[in-house]
């Protein structure tokens, strides 16, 4: 597990072995002031080589850059599932941009892990 100091955004990366997955939890808000933290978090999560679960249940605000990272993760063959509930402005952003149906979203970690590829 890896913790980062909060700067409006707190990041937690957990590697799960059964099933094989990396859970990236984002708590707080993303923005221009913590874009490097967010970028590093996705880089670290990607470096695990594991299918990715991004936990957005603790997200207060997600900006366009977060959506960009999610879209990038979606295009990789490793697999991506969102863990919700995704609420507020980021839920609106997903709907408004027409990508809410693109992502698989589950409400519990067990269901999210179950939906990842083997």
């Amino acid at each position: 597990m890896q913790e980062r100091p909060p700067d409006g955004l707190s990041v937690r990366i957990t590697e799960v072995t059964r099933p094989n997955a990396c859970v990236l939890a984002l708590l707080g808000s993303t923005g221009a002031w913590n874009v490097t933290v967010l970028e590093q978090a996705f880089r670290d999560a990607g470096a695990t080589g594991r299918p990715l679960v991004v936990d957005l249940s603790g997200l207060d605000f997600g900006d366009e850059v977060l959506l960009g990272f999610l879209l990038h993760a979606y295009t990789t063959p490793r697999g991506l599932v969102l863990l919700g509930p995704v609420t507020g402005s980021f839920a609106r952003r997903l709907y408004r941009t027409g990508v809410d149906e693109l992502f698989k979203t589950q409400q519990t970690l067990a269901l999210a892990l179950a939906q990842l590829p083997e």
Partner: protein, 444 residues
């Protein structure tokens, strides 16, 4: 005088070859000590050497290819740069530099290494002990030395103290070199930042029309609000241009992210939209083609946009509007009500198939179409600010602010929105914002 062996050999004049080593001379030059005047910090160390050893004379010198430069000789009054040096063979300093190690003589006249040396007379050297001043990269550039008029034995603790003082001199010089390098790097970085800022500004300017082309029968105004402290080119853009016949196109877009990758997508979007808008009066069709172009070009960023194609009519303006992943457009009606318009559509540059829908709109005299990027509906105060937390200035707040502009023309409307945003974020804009207002002038 017996010949010594030096690690780098000897020159033809019998002095150590290392005195001419370009790397050593470069290190000496970088030290800034050549021809420099005495300084308190070095004089203090030289006096300390006298106190510890009981020697008559102490000196800190820097040894060049042909000259030895005196930095500190406390027992002598400073005589200016020209007099504060001698030929490199006129002192013992080169011995320590040539060996890159201590040089200790207890009886100069009898020691076979120095017997008959031409420095003995002028300096009255009976005994001499010196340690090299060595830079961080291992170059011996000078000496810390003590001289006694009579032969004497140098005690071990005296020599150890002298070595410490030589290292203290070296540390002082190395710190100065490091500071100088850091200052030089800082200067270079500042210059690079200034160049980068100028380039970003030029690039940003090139991606936005310098002035909006006037549309007959329409009052149009655009405003670009830069994020606080930003030097990178960003992806917000707007444009207003003639499509064909009576039709005009207004477009406003937001490329995800910043920097040159975002700028490339911005340029691609602007020029693709301009090229295609004349062929298709459907904004959805034009944005669909842009999506195809972005995928074909492997655009490195996604884009959201809102595009309106319209014409002025005897009763105002009418046209079609499409949003692609973008916040809804707002229409300020003549009575001050604000209405959202636009059906949410797919963002561009990610999926091969996008869902985009045109909606029709009409503007009566006095009514205004307001297009904006998300900086206008996601404004937040600096989260690091000690001020009390304030909620996001969201789409509802933006609609209320637009309602407050009832009766204002396009430029005043944008100015009011800009003021409201600044009031909310307290002067710290987290994101860039583009505003584009199109108003049908009220009938006189």
């Amino acid at each position: 005088m017996g010949e010594l062996e030096y690690p780098g050999g000897m020159r033809e004049d019998g002095l150590p070859a290392v005195l001419s080593d370009p790397a050593r001379l470069a290190a000496l030059e970088a030290s800034g000590m050549i021809g420099s005047a005495p300084e308190q910090v070095f004089d203090d160390l030289a006096r300390l050497a006298v106190s510890i050893t009981g020697a008559a004379i102490s000196a800190i010198t820097f040894v060049g290819k042909t000259r030895t430069y005196w930095k500190s000789v406390p027992h002598l009054a400073y005589g200016g740069v020209e007099n504060w040096q001698n030929a490199v063979g006129d002192s013992f300093c080169y011995f320590a530099v040539g060996a890159n190690g201590p040089f200790v003589v207890e009886d100069a006249e009898k020691d076979p290494r120095t017997a008959g040396h031409r420095a003995i007379g002028p300096w009255g050297v009976g005994a001499w002990a010196g340690f090299p001043i060595v830079t961080a990269d291992g170059q011996a550039i000078g000496t810390m030395c003590v001289i006694d008029a009579n032969p004497r034995r140098w005690e071990q603790h005296e020599l150890e103290s002298l070595a410490v003082l030589a290292r203290a001199v070296a540390n002082e010089i190395n710190l100065r070199i490091s500071l100088s390098v850091a200052q030089s790097a800082l200067h270079s970085a500042r210059n690079a930042l200034a160049v980068s800022r100028d380039l970003a500004r030029s690039l940003q300017d090139s991606l936005l029309p310098p002035v909006l082309r006037p549309v007959p029968g329409l009052d149009a105004s655009a405003r670009y609000l830069a994020a606080t402290g930003d030097v990178e080119v960003v992806g917000d853009f707007y444009d207003l241009f003639h499509a064909r016949g009576p039709w005009w196109t207004a477009v406003l877009g937001d490329v995800c992210g910043k920097g040159t990758e975002a700028a490339k997508v911005t340029a691609l979007a602007r020029y693709t939209l301009r090229a295609d808008a004349g062929d298709h009066l459907s904004p959805a069709a034009v944005l669909d083609r842009l999506n195809t172009a972005m995928l074909a070009q492997r655009a490195p960023r996604y884009l959201t946009a809102v595009q309106a194609t319209f014409r002025t009519t005897p009763t105002g303006a009418a046209g079609r509007l499409c949003t692609a992943g973008h916040p809804p457009a707002l229409i300020r009606r003549a009575d001050g009500r604000v209405q959202e318009t636009g059906v949410p559509g797919t963002l561009l540059g990610v999926m091969p198939t996008v869902r985009l829908t045109d909606v029709r709109f009409r503007l009566a005299p006095g009514e205004l179409l307001f297009l904006y990027t998300d900086g206008a509906c996601e404004s937040r105060p600096d989260p690091r600010s000690p001020l009390p937390h304030r909620p996001i200035f969201d789409e509802e707040a933006l609609a209320r602010a637009l309602a407050d502009t009832h009766g204002m023309d396009a430029a005043a409307t944008n100015a009011h929105i800009a003021d409201v945003l600044a009031g909310h974020h307290g002067g710290w804009a987290s994101d860039d914002t583009a505003l584009l207002s199109l108003r049908v002038p009220p009938r006189p």
